[in-house]
Amino acid sequence: MDNCTMDNELQTDNELQMNRVFLIGRDEIPRKVRLDSGDTLSWTLVFLPCAGADVKVDLDVNLCGPGSSLDLAGIYICPTDEKLSLNIKVKHSAEDCSSSQLFKGLAGGCSRAVFDGLILVEHGAQRTKAVQESHSILLSERAVAEVHPQLEIYADDVECSHGATTGFLNEEEEFYMRSRGIPEAEAKRLQTISFLAPVLARLPENLRNEIISKC
C-alpha cells in the first residue's frame, strides 16, 4: 500500500457491488450509498497496517427502500502510529429494513482509531432492526481506541442496539493457553486471531492469511 490517504467521490447506485471487501486506503469506498426496496448490501472494510497513515473514512448508507438490508463489518490493524477515523452513518428511512454493523480492531504503539457510528431511524421507519457493535483491543498503553456510538430513533416499533468495548487481551484466556504450554507471545497471537475471527470469517482466504500473519 503506497497511498494511505483517501479522498473519493460520491458513487452512483448503479456502480454498487452488493458484496465487497474494501481495503481502506487502497480501494475507493463510496461516500454515500442508497439502498432501494429489497436491496441487500454486504460490505467488509479492511484496514491493514500502514505506518504513518492518517485515514478518514466517511460512509453514509441510507436504507430508503422498504425491506432493504445492510450487513457491514470492518477490521483494522493499527500496530504502530496509524491514525484511522471511521465515520459511519446508517439511516433507516423506510419500513422493515435491517442493518447490522460489526467492527473489530487492534490498536498498538501510539496509534489512534476512532469509530463514530450513528444509527438514525426516521419517523415512519417502523419495524427497523439495527445493531451496531464496535470492539477494540489495545496492545499498548499509549494506543487509543475511541468509540462514539449514537442512536437517534424517531419511530416507535424498532429493535435497536449498540455495543462498544475497548480493553486489553483477556488474562484468563491467556492463562488457559499458557497452561497448555503455548508460550506467552503465541498465546497473545491466538487470542488476537480469536478476537478478530467473526470478521476474518468474511474475508477471502488470502486476505485472511495476510491479516493473521500480521497479528
Binding site: 488474562e171 484468563e172 484466556e173 492463562f175 488457559y176 493457553m177 499458557r178 497452561s179 497448555r180 504450554g181 503455548i182 508460550p183 506467552e184 503465541e186 498465546a187 491466538l190 487470542q191 486471531i193 480469536s194 478476537f195 478478530l196 475471527a197 467473526p198 476474518l200 470469517a201
Partner: protein
Amino acid sequence: MDLMGDHKLDNNYLLEINSLHAGIEGKEILKGVDLRIGKGEVHAVMGPNGAGKSTLGAVITGRRDYGVTGGELRFCGKNLLAMAPEERSWAGIFLSFQYPIEIPGVSITNFMKAAVNAKRKAAGLPDLKPGEFLKLLKEKMALVGMDSAFAKREVNVGFSGGEKKRNEIFQMAMLEPVLGILDETDSGLDVDALKTVADGVNALRSPERSFIIITHYQKLLEYIRPDFVHVLKEGRIVRNGGPELAEAIWQDGFEGIN
C-alpha cells in the same frame, strides 16, 4: 553448584508442597498447605466451598493473579514458583479447568498443534509432521471417546458442560503430563458424562503419572479410585486418609472434620 536452588529429592515425591501460603487481591486463601505427591499416585483433595481447592490448582499451574506469600512448591525437585505457566506445562503439569475457556475462531486442531509443538520445541524436538499430528489427535480423541468431528470445532465454543470437560481430558491425553490436576471436573456433569470423563482419566492412569483430583463430592471418586484423600478446610489440609475418608465425608459432611 546449584544456582537455581533446585535439589534432588531424597524420596520419590513428584510434587512437594511445603507450608504454602497464597491468595488473591491481598486476601490469604491458602494458609500453610503441606502436600506430597508420589509418582503414579492419585490424590483427592476434598473440601467445602471456599476452602481454597481451586486456588491450590491455580497456584501449582502459575496463574498470575494468585500471589504466593510463603512456602515452597517443588516439582521433580525444581522450584515451580520460578517458572512461567508454559514452563510448568512443558515440565509435565496439566490443569483441567473447572470452567474451560472458549476460544472462538481457533480450532481444536490448531490449538493443540500450537500446544504440542511448543512442548516438543522446549524438549529440543522438531514439530510433528502434519500427518503424525493428525494421527495422534485421532488416537487421543478415540481414547477419551470424543467424536473426531470436534477437531475442526472452535475450542469449547457451543460445547455442552460434558463436552467441555471431555475436551479437557482430551487435551490432557495429548500433552501426556506426569501430573494431571482435575479441578472439579465433575461439576455440572450428569452421571453418564461423569462416567465417560472418568473412563478417560482411568485410561491415562499409569505408574509414571500422578493425579490431583479436586472435588466436593465423593461421586467421581467411585469411578476414579484415589490412593489418598486430603481434606482442605479454610486454607489448610486438616485430615489425610485413604479412600475410606471420602466415604466418611459422604456420610457425615465436612463439618465434623477439623
